[in-house]
Every structure is written in C-alpha cells, then in structure tokens.
C-alpha cells in the first residue's frame, strides 16, 4: 500500500489476468462508456441552462479512457488533465462526487476551488487536475520515481492531449522518465485538435508516439476507439513499468466529437462533415456492435442501460444541486496547513464586513 490514503474498494478493480480484456467485464466497461456519454450530454445542457458554469466534453474518447483505466490497479496513480471524467468513473469515483465538483458545492472534495472538470479524488489516487497544459506529466514521473524509491510495485499514468506534446513538461517529463527509467505510462489522447489547431500543425512528426525515441523508450500508436486494443497496450506498458523496464508513450488516436469546451464554437475551424465522418467510428457504437454480435447485449437491454444510466445521472446531479453551498470561510482554508497570521487577519476582516452587512454570501 502506498502513501497516505487508502484506496477505496472499487468495483472497477479489474485485477486483470491474461492479456485480453476480461470478457466478463466488457458489459461493465460499456456501461462506463455510456455513463460518460450521458454525463457529457447532460452537462452540456446544464451549462446552457446556466446550472453549471463550464464543461469540457470527452465524447469520442470513451474507449481510450475506459480501456486505459481498466488496465490499472488501485495502487497506481493517475495524473489527469481536465477531460478525464471516464477515468475517474472507472477508478471508482461516484457520479455524485463528480457532479459535486461540477457544481462546486459544500460536498465537493476540492471545496469548490476549481472550475468544473478539474477533479481530485485522493482515495482513488486520482490526482488534482489543473488547467495549465502538460504540468501533470513531470509530476507523474516524479511520483513514479517515488514509487521506485519506496519499492512499491505500482506505476503512474498520465493523461494528456496532442496539444500537450508541445509543452515544456512533455519534454522534461519524458526525458526524466527515460533517464531514471521511471515506471510511468504516458497516455496521449490525440483527439486531433488543440482547440482550433489541428494535429498536423501542432508538430511535424508522422505520429506523436514516435517522439518517445528521442527519450530512449518505446512509443506505441493505438486505435483509441478500440477499448480492447487500448486495454492491451496500457496493460503491457504498465507491466513493463513495474518490471523496471521503464516508461512507454502511448498515442491513442481518437477524435473530439464535441466542442473543446462550452466556451468553444468548433464550426469556426472545422466542418460538420469532418465530425460526421469521425463519428462513424464512434467508440460506443463499435463496442455496442461487438457486444450485440457476441450476444452480451440486445436492443432491449441496450435501451434499458441508457435509460438507467440517464436516470442515475439525473438523480446524482439533482442531489449535487441540492447540497448546501460552500461556507464562505472555506475561502481561507487550505492555503497552508495552518493559516498564517495574515490569512487569519483577512478572515477576520471578511467576518467584519459580513457583520456590517457587506459582502454577504
């Protein structure tokens, strides 16, 4: 067991045996993918209604995220960007917790300090996400170096986008990982866009995966719409990592179906037909067809699944919305372990203002 927090028991703990995706968990994985899609739909509409302030959808990236998350063990640490909601779900973070974060209520484990999508769940070793692109990459390497030093048989995985390959931390992180043989899996979701910049103009290398060569370790391209393929490469990379063989860069090729975020209008830089074409390889569709053909799903159970997930999401969101708002005093918490005199004074200043009828919550 690793530092501090206990890993909560998670139904999603895959304890994978064999190389293939465990057959008996395919349906469960499918449910997680559907859940992510449902959350996307719901969140986009809630944002339009002004009930949440912002959202960055992951539609199109469900298989990549769920496949990768299934290949991990509870003791592994996840260093996400801001789009990794499905990873959090598979790790065992309750929907309700995710919604508490979107709302920023008093139940939010991050105490409403962050914009929607910037999740942090210590119990699931899901490290706090930030907005600056790439910063999690070097951190994941550092945590992996710590695992090495503690002789913990675990790995870190970090999620980032195609755009993040241009970041300082990509370069530093991969280089450190190569030099120190850190047990890290670099998982790049190449969704073809960094807001309006297409992948081809982000960098000239033929693939993103091949950049690993510059750091002396392997890079792998995988079809990110294929749950099982993703699972296999991540699992192999993880095993490599914990065997002391060093890091791996994985490029999961996907397509971002939705806008970059609710602040974005993708029609300014891409056509609907491009998106329609990409949607033909919708990862949910692909897995559904496979499950149907294998008899693990039929039209009726599929229908039912979506409905039950929708109902579950609706309930969870409403509960999050009903939760009490944050106590304004939490503004001054967690800057430091113990408030400095200055912070205590400012808290007192705020209290005085409230007493005098100003700045009420």
């Amino acid at each position: 067991m690793t530092n501090g927090g206990t890993v909560a028991h998670s139904d999603a703990d895959p304890a994978p045996e064999g190389d293939g995706f465990p057959r008996d968990r395919r349906l469960e994985a499918y449910r997680w993918m559907v859940t992510a899609r449902v959350v996307d739909e719901r969140a986009l509409s809630l944002q339009r209604q002004g009930r949440i302030g912002f959202y960055a959808p992951l539609s199109g990236q469900e298989a990549a995220q769920v496949g990768a998350a299934y290949a991990l063990r509870p003791e592994d640490w996840v260093f996400p960007a801001y789009r990794e909601l499905a990873v959090a779900l598979v790790r065992g973070v309750p929907l309700r917790s995710l919604f508490d974060q979107l709302v920023g209520n008093s139940a939010d484990l991050s105490k409403g300090t962050q914009m929607p999508n910037h999740f942090a769940y210590r119990a699931q070793h899901f490290v706090s996400a930030s907005s600056p692109i790439g910063t999690q990459i070097t951190q994941a390497v550092g945590a992996a170096m710590a695992m090495q030093r503690r002789h913990d048989r675990a790995a870190t995985i970090t999620f980032f986008g195609d755009g993040a390959t241009s970041s300082n931390d990509f370069h530093a992180g991969l280089n450190f990982a190569g030099v120190f043989r850190a047990p890290t899996v670099f998982f790049c979701q190449n969704n073809q866009w960094a807001i309006s910049l297409p992948r081809e103009r982000q960098t000239v290398s033929a693939t993103l995966a091949e950049k690993a060569a510059a750091y002396g370790f392997p890079g792998v391209v995988v079809d990110g719409n294929d749950l099982e393929a993703v699972y296999r490469v991540v699992r192999a990379a993880r095993l490599r990592a914990i065997a002391g063989e060093g890091p791996t860069l994985i490029e999961a090729q996907v397509y971002r179906f939705g806008p970059h975020s609710t602040s974005d209008d993708p029609r300014r830089y891409r056509t609907d037909s491009q998106v329609a074409e990409a949607r033909q390889r919708d990862p949910i569709l692909l897995l559904k067809e496979r499950l149907l053909s294998e008899g693990l799903l039929d039209a009726a159970s599929e229908q039912e699944l979506w409905e039950s997930v929708r109902a579950e999401a609706a309930r969870a969101f409403e509960a999050a919305e009903r939760a009490p708002p944050l106590d304004p005093h939490t503004l001054f918490d967690n800057v430091f372990a113990t408030p400095t005199p200055r912070l205590a004074e400012e808290r007192g200043e705020y209290d005085r203002l409230v007493r005098e009828g100003l700045g009420k919550p």
Partner: protein, 325 residues
C-alpha cells in the same frame, strides 16, 4: 468615433496597426482562423493571412522565444497569451530575455514585443482563468505594463504599445471585455504611457485603481458621493511607467488613499503605491493608507464573489479612512 466594447477596441487597435505597418504581426494560440478565444483577433486572419496572424503550437515558451527573435530582427510581433494564467511557461523568456535584451547588450539589441493577455477574475474561471499577477511584471526592470479600463484606452494604449520601442505587457480586463462600452476615436488613436486618467475629481479621499477595478471604484465613488464623501478616482492606465506625480498630487490634496486591485494583497501593486505615498506624500497623509484587494489565497472558483473587491468593500474602506473608523 465608434461605440465599441473593450474587446472590439482591442481588435480595432490591432487592425489599425497591422494596416499601418507590414512589420506588425500577431502570434499565439487560436488567434488565426478561430479569431482568438475571446475574438480579439477576429477577422485579422482573413485580412492579413497566415503569415501575419500566426497560429502557433501549444507552447508559450515558443511563442515568446519566437516573438523575441522576430523583434530582434526588426519585426513588431504581438504575442497573444490566451489567459494571463498561462504565461508562466514563457516567464523565463519574459524576465530573463525580453526584459533584459536592451540592457545586457548595451543598447545594441532593443527587443520590442507586445505581449497581450486577458487577465483578472469575475468570470467564474477559477484558479487558472482569473489571476492578476501584474506585480510580477511591474517588479521586473525593463518591462512596461499597461492595463486599460475603457474602450478608448484599450485602443489608444495598445497603439502606443505597438509603436513603443520597449517590451510591453498589455493586460486586458476580460471581465469587462464586453460589459463596458464607449466611444473610441477612429484611426491612429494613441494614449500616452505614464499618464494616469483622472476619472473623477474629489477632495476627501483618493481611490486608485486600474483595469477591471476602475468601474468598481467609480461605482463606490458614486455611493460615497451620496453620503457626502467626495472621492477622487485615478485610473493608472500604465503601472510602468507609473504616473507617480498624479498619485502623489491627488493624495496631497485629499490626505487619504484607498488602493484597489484584485490581485492578492501581499506584495501586490498596492504595496508599491503605499510605499510611494508613505515616502512622498507623508506630510499630507491624514489617515492610514487602506488597501482593498483580493485576499492572500489562490483565486477561488465558487467563492470568487467573496474574494474579489467590489464597490461595497471599496466604499466601506473609504468611509473608514475618511471617518477614521
């Protein structure tokens, strides 16, 4: 004259400069076909093409490094940083290189880059889409720092920045990008650096602000006027060069100062202003100098209304200063 928002005025300023001088070019993330995430560069890609409105890879290090190289060669690059919060990957290029090129080369290599960045809170942006870290840049010798609060100043200070010979950090108050409108002169409108704007005359207390805090301070001054307190309001417009004379003169007249910014208080720009006053207007001061600022916490998300200075907090501080409360 046209009635414009601040972001439109920025857009007009950029258009004007690019039409005037083929050496002016823009580089940044999503500035081209997308027109910038705030639409500040809307239409420029169409008019000036990909060679002058350059969509870059996702690297602020690269944006600033490239802009500096261009400037050394004689172009006039304008680097857009999508949010001020994302300027830090470029911080080394800004403080180690941009700020020091002219100095370290004994004047052989002037380095004139304009760095534009939307800054500040009030848009529910949380920790990473809200910060005001102007103090970092103001403390860095060799950088000028401009922060407009009106559409006319947005265009006028921007054109001055583009025609300046020194590096300029140009911070745009995104919170009032669209909410504040005003008349903006057409053509080559310029507002000089180092000259504060007297927003409102008054005699009992001086309120000093810049950027998105100017409307808040102005509103506070109106409230105070109704209570019989006459507040003078100064909009600094540029932090470097600073119109110290205007600040000192005003406080010599009123005897009282309330310094307002949304950045964290500790070591913020208000500290510099207070130090100037405590040295140069000391014998005129009738009351302690007050600061109304963000608290010394990271910028919050759900509680930004608690964090930010607002007209009530400002008026309250001014009242206490005047009444000795």
């Amino acid at each position: 004259m046209s009635e414009l928002t601040i972001v439109q005025a920025v857009n007009r300023g950029l258009t004007e400069a690019m039409r005037q001088d083929p050496d002016v070019l823009i580089l940044g993330e999503d500035v081209g076909i997308n027109g910038g995430v705030f639409r500040a560069t809307e239409g420029l890609f169409k008019e000036f093409g990909a060679d002058r409105v350059v969509d870059t890879p996702l690297s602020e290090t690269g944006i600033l490094g490239a802009a500096i190289g261009m400037a050394l060669y004689g172009l006039k690059p304008i680097a857009e940083i999508q949010f001020l919060d994302f300027i830090y990957p470029a911080f080394d290029q800004i403080v180690s290189e941009l700020a020091k090129f002219r100095y370290r080369s004994g004047g052989q290599y002037p380095c004139h880059v304009v760095v534009r960045a939307p800054y500040g809170g009030g848009i529910k942006g949380g920790l990473y889409h809200s910060q005001s870290t102007e103090a970092y840049f103001a403390h860095t010798a060799g950088l000028k720092v401009a922060i407009p609060s009106t559409p006319a100043d947005a265009k006028g200070l921007l054109l001055t920045a583009i025609h300046d010979e020194d590096p300029v950090i140009f911070l745009e108050p995104k919170r009032i990008y669209r909410s504040v409108t005003g008349e903006v002169p057409d053509g080559d409108h310029r507002v000089p650096f180092g000259s504060a704007r007297l927003v409102r005359e008054g005699s009992n207390v001086t309120l000093v602000a810049y950027g998105a805090m100017v409307p808040a301070v102005t509103e506070a001054a109106e409230t105070l006027a109704n209570e019989g307190i006459s507040a003078e309001v100064l909009d600094l417009r540029t932090l470097v060069p600073l119109d110290e004379a205007a600040v000192v003169r005003s406080v010599e007249k009123t005897g009282r100062a309330v310094l307002v910014h949304e950045a964290a208080r500790f070591c913020g720009f208000g500290g510099e202003l207070a130090a100037i006053l405590a040295e140069k207007a000391f014998f005129s001061l009738k009351a302690p100098i007050a600061r109304v600022t963000g608290y010394d916490t990271p910028f919050p998300y759900a509680l930004e209304h608690v964090y930010l200075p607002n007209p009530e907090k400002i008026a309250h501080a001014a009242r206490s200063t005047v009444r000795g409360g």
